[in-house]
């Protein structure tokens, strides 16, 4: 429990400092979350400049409306991820719709599929980043380094049972990326955090 309290206290304090108009707090907020925000936006939009734009919008929103975050609803990190997700998906839909209207290739259904795909991919990224480090380490070994679960167990210094458990649990968490329903629905950035 103590482990959970510390970040929440940081979150509350950060919110108070932002509300007070402390520019140094904004800098600290950026230092903590910029790579998360930029990474998610980039995953959705696949474009550096567009991701820069979303990063600007997200921090501007938090700075202008620090009270919009309610610490009771969960960690600041999830809230910022949700906000980023929403803004990035919104922008993707707007640019894709505009391209379609200009006579670009594709259909409305394809557009929806693309949006949904980008949305799930970004959520999956977030889940991987936020899952407990032992699960992430097991998945990295098994997937990216092609270690089997016995080798994974050896690498991590755990039993084979434990390696199997971590791989399964990690994938179970990751599978929840598909669970948000329609792309317009709240993407549920709380669960894995």
């Amino acid at each position: 429990m103590a482990k959970k309290d510390v970040p929440l206290r940081w979150d509350r304090k950060m919110q108070q400092r932002l509300a007070r108009g402390e520019a140094a707090a904004l800098g600290e907020l950026y230092d903590r979350f910029a790579s998360l925000v930029h990474g998610l936006a980039h995953r959705v939009l696949g474009d550096e400049r567009a991701a820069d734009g979303i990063t600007r919008d997200v921090f501007a929103h938090v700075w202008e409306h620090p009270d919009a975050y309610d610490p009771k609803q969960g960690p600041l990190r999830s809230w910022i991820a949700t906000l980023t997700h929403r803004l990035a998906v919104q922008r993707l839909r707007v640019t894709e719709t505009a391209a379609l209207a200009r006579g670009g290739p594709g259909t409305a259904e394809e557009l929806e599929r693309k949006v949904r795909h980008a949305s799930v991919a970004a959520r999956a990224d977030y889940i991987v980043q936020s899952m407990p480090a032992p699960l992430r380490a097991a998945l990295e070994l098994a997937y990216f380094q092609r270690r089997d679960y016995r080798q994974t167990a050896t690498d991590l210094g755990v039993t084979e049972d434990e390696a199997r458990r971590r791989l399964r649990l990690g994938l179970q968490l990751l599978a929840t990326a598909h669970d948000a329903g329609s792309p317009g629905a709240p993407p549920g950035y709380g669960g894995a955090a």
């Binding site: 007070r20 230092d31 820069d52 501007a60 089997d148 994938l171 990326a177």
Partner: protein
């Protein structure tokens, strides 16, 4: 460095070419009931152990099983949900064991026998089949993370955009901005470092007694150095001294650093990053609260002191210089500071030069004085025009004969032109005054004195 991801750039397990599963290599069917491997699925207590304990049973004329596991077939390759069954006689495993294997199975990270046993089971168990499908769909979502290298200029742009939309009630003082930016830049460089980077050797270099001095340490050791010397500013602002219980013989930067290094039984590790970053954030924050009032407050460096706003500039400069040392040690690119911050750093060096010239003269390090012409304090004196080229550059008139004199174009006796980054390398002791690429016109002795004085601004 998230090397795990980068090394596998071309590796795509989701492009259902079906090769592996559809056409098993010569080694694939060999894997029958290896009697030496029952422990992998639950140990001797497992009642459902290998069914075929009588040694390898070659199928399709395959060779007997090798002892070493062969490369795994990618289960999720191919369109058909299950790899062609019947090639191996599956192990018989209990439901809980099979269920526990689902993650490894979906990742193609179990032995072929286990994989076959799971395949067999999925035909009979709806719950496991559902989960298996779900987990395999999850595997497709594993991707290399997006590049973490954010453009450092983005930070400035984003923060400025925010502050325009809602002006801060408690701004970061302008003189603290270079330190804020440089510490953020260095922290971003450190972000993806693994142990090998943290322990990469670094040689700190500076100019001392008109020669190059150096000290070996590691990347983590450099951060410890920044932590202890930034600590001088922290202490002046009323924050905790990072040295804690450790007592340094003198409050000078090198002495503090050596004391900190000595006090630890082990060389510094990546664990030093947190305290360093927390302190640098704390410094910016506290400087904002004390505001413009505190800018003149003295910060002691032991044998000299600087007003807080200059000390913060000095720390920003040191942060950049050591970030370059680190970047060089791990072979990463690193850019100079933003031009307006670079300009402030050069300005600080230019303002410090008259005092250093005087100190060198006193110490007998400067033959100068032959042409020395003393004037009353506040009067224009013999001057050198320091022209710094490039973005962040400018011109400074350095009074040569006394810190009390005022630089004057009418009394200009020499003109030196240097690139801004080159000048900073000189002031950091990374380029020797004789080697610095400088355009020179006028009094050679004055030029030599100023270049040597610039180099002796450096310290560990």
């Amino acid at each position: 460095m998230s090397g795990a991801y980068e090394e596998n750039e071309g590796f795509d397990r989701t492009d259902g070419n079906g090769g592996d599963a559809a056409a098993p290599g010569p080694g694939e069917p060999e894997t029958l009931g290896k009697p030496d491997e029952p422990d992998v699925v639950g140990g001797s207590a497992d009642p459902g152990g290998p069914e075929a304990p009588d040694g390898p049973v070659p199928l399709d004329g395959a060779k007997p099983a090798p002892r070493i596991p062969l490369p795994r077939a990618s289960v999720e390759d191919g369109e058909d949900p299950l790899p062609s069954p019947g090639r191996t006689v599956p192990l018989v495993l209990e439901h809980p064991v099979l269920k526990s294997l689902l993650g490894a199975w979906a990742l193609a990270a179990c032995s072929p026998e286990e994989s076959a046993a799971v395949d067999e089971h999925l035909g009979e168990c709806g719950a496991c089949a559902d989960e298996a499908l779900r987990l395999r769909e999850a595997v497709v979502l594993l991707q290399r993370p997006e590049s973490l290298d954010l453009d450092p200029a983005l930070r400035t742009r984003v923060l400025e955009g925010c502050l325009e939309r809602r002006p801060p009630r408690i701004p970061v003082p302008e003189w603290a901005a270079p330190y804020d930016a440089e510490t953020a830049r260095l922290d971003a460089l450190l972000q993806d470092f693994g142990d090998s980077e943290w322990h990469a050797p670094v040689r700190l270099r500076w100019f001392e007694a008109d020669g190059t001095a150096s000290r070996r340490t590691t990347v983590a050791g450099v951060i410890a150095h920044l932590l202890t010397v930034d600590g001088l500013v922290a202490v002046a602002l009323g924050l905790a001294d990072p040295l804690g219980e450790i007592t340094a013989p003198t409050p000078a930067p090198a002495s503090r650093t050596e004391a900190y290094w000595r006090a630890s039984h082990y060389p510094p590790t990546r664990a030093v990053r947190g305290p360093w970053r927390e302190q640098s954030h704390g410094i910016v924050r506290t400087a904002s609260f004390t505001g413009s009032r505190s800018g003149r407050m003295p910060v002691s460096y032991g044998d000299f002191e600087l007003p807080l706003h200059d000390a913060m500039l000095d720390r920003a400069f040191e942060c950049w210089v050591h970030a370059e040392d680190i970047a060089e040690a791990v072979d990463y690119p690193y850019e100079p500071p933003a031009p307006r911050h670079l300009n402030r750093m050069i300005d600080l060096a230019a303002r410090l030069l008259p005092d250093v010239l005087a100190a060198r003269r006193l110490a007998g390090l400067s033959p100068g004085g032959t042409r020395r012409h003393l004037v009353a304090a506040g009067e224009p004196g013999r001057s050198l025009r320091l022209e710094i080229e490039g973005s962040g550059g400018g011109e400074w008139l350095i009074p040569l004969d006394s810190p009390g004199a005022v630089g004057s174009a009418d009394h200009e006796v020499a003109h030196v032109a240097l690139d801004g980054v080159e000048f900073c390398r000189l002031a950091a002791g990374h380029v020797s005054p004789v080697e610095a690429a400088a355009g020179q016109v006028g009094d050679r002795e004055a030029i030599r004195d100023v270049l040597f004085a610039a180099a002796s601004l450096s310290r560990m």
